[in-house]
Symmetry: C2
Subunit: 317 residues, 2 copies
């Protein structure tokens, strides 16, 4: 397996990325290789300075970088030798099996949607994030902020996508899927959730357990996967981030809050496209990069595309 | 000032309500009177058993109770001698200056909207809840769950309502008002927040400080008042409640989390109607009832109706 990594992406790149890649190279499977996309000289200097064992690390030289200020779509067309652009080309061609970056989220989405593209039958790919829960488990929230406005049919698709992700990447058997809502009863909610509830109830691909109110988000009592529009999902995740920061400042520690640490989570997969793509936090430290690489490996292994194609087959014949 | 209290409302009524009222009777202003609505015999027995000083406690006998299972609007018509029905009649007639209950939220809303009614110019009254923040302050969130679907014009009104509430009840000078959003920049968000931003920017009644992402909700850095639709607001508050429960279970204590305690908050005002109405948590303990009564007194004193009428005057002439 060849795991493509953007060596130039992230606030602390390339140093943090390459140090994180060296850390990950000791933890990945023997058959896996980390393929670093970026300036070969710079990368080699850092690898040498770290006295890294580069047996399972390769470099694909790229002369350009998509900067945070670049317009993502334009940059993709104009900077054809940038690390992200080149990696997506190789991903499309099958030269690497997955790609992860802590760089421009916009460029990562352009690559995901335009170079790789959605799996037929999936209307809008999504991103999801796991939060740590009270009993040390994870709860997966999607959409995490990609699609701020959603139709009921889109949330219905997210339910299937999230269920497949939870089962195959987090090894949760028959995951409980809930709809984020502001009441327990089926008829409660806003226009979107009222219209979505009956669709989820009929969805044969999931174990639908009904509505989840946010007071039960982290207590493990209701669901493993929570479906909501990207506005609500992003708001939940950011609130968790804010509370995480306050509690860490207070030296509070517990499994549920430690599992909310983005350094441990290691990135957000783009789900519903025909390859494995992981987007990590711009601030990523070496530890965050290490875990981004490990979660990329795990996601590639899960062969989600095959599962998605089975669930969303457009012309079953 | 005459503070009307539903003696029969709440999971632990009438005992918890009357004990809470006795506690509050020692803390309210000398000129204030607590008026208990409910079964006179039952109330007197509890007051006697508690050996209460009833100098500033009165009773208005009511022979009926609106139960949680009753249809709120029908109960209002059929149970004309219920505590909530009778209290709203007295509130309308000016025999009491405000009314608070931990009973049927539905019936409280029917009374607020149909008996008291919205102030002219206010399209949809709202409920708001303060959360405790990192530095021991409060941040006011509205709508807290009454109106799950909102138009931009409604959020614009909520901004004015919340600003007046924060200034007059929480004594925050020139409160900073923000729009809950999933990005800092004006053009970020969902269809609703994108359309609301320019309205808030033009709103002369408020000190608009831009978008607030939920990671800054509790860190005091951006706003004193946060405007959002009732789905997002209710979700934020319930998430705070869930995390409050986990942290209390872990014996964690800090001003920001203690201030999130509903027993301390003491209830949610219905804002934008022509009287003071406070709705408290169904589980209310005596302490919660005490604080519900104190916050009712404080809200009556603030004369919010006058401020709202000034801001929303329909025919300024």
């Amino acid at each position: 397996m060849r795991i493509g990594i953007d060596a130039m992406g992230g606030d602390h790149a390339p140093n943090a990325v390459i140090i994180g890649a060296i850390m990950a190279s000791k933890l990945i499977n023997k058959e896996s290789t980390i393929v670093l996309f970026g300036d070969e000289n710079i990368i080699r200097n850092i690898l040498d300075a770290q006295k890294a064992d580069t047996n399972n690390i390769e470099i694909v030289h790229c002369s350009q970088i998509i900067e945070m200020g670049d317009h993502p779509a334009k940059a993709f067309q104009q900077k054809t030798d940038a690390s992200i652009t080149k990696a997506f080309k190789q991903l499309k061609e099958g030269l690497i099996d997955g790609f992860a970056s802590a760089g421009s989220t916009g460029a990562m989405m352009v690559g995901s949607m335009l170079v790789i593209g959605a799996i037929p039958g999936i209307s809008r790919p999504t991103i999801c994030t796991p939060l740590g829960t009270q009993n040390g488990n994870r709860i997966i929230i999607l959409d995490a902020g990609l699609n701020a406005d959603c139709k009921p049919e889109i949330l219905d698709q997210y339910a299937t996508i999230g269920s497949i992700y939870a089962e195959n990447v987090f090894n949760i058997k028959n995951p409980r899927v809930a709809l984020l809502n502001i009441g327990e009863e089926p008829e409660k909610g806003n226009l979107l959730t009222k219209a979505t509830y009956p669709l989820l109830k009929e969805n044969q691909n999931i174990n639908f357990v009904g509505n989840l109110e946010a007071n039960h988000l982290l207590d493990d009592s209701i669901a493993d996967v929570v479906v909501c529009d990207g506005f609500a999902g992003n708001t939940l995740l950011k609130m968790a981030e804010g509370i995480y920061n306050i509690l860490k400042n207070d030296k509070y520690s517990a499994p549920w809050i430690d599992n909310c640490n983005y350094e441990i989570v290691g990135g957000t997969p783009v789900l519903g496209i025909d390859k494995t793509v992981i987007i990590a936090h711009g601030h990523s430290s070496p530890l965050a990069i290490q875990n981004m690489i490990l979660s990329t490996e795990k996601t590639i292994e899960a062969k989600l595309e095959t599962q998605f194609k089975k669930a969303f087959q457009v012309n079953p014949s």
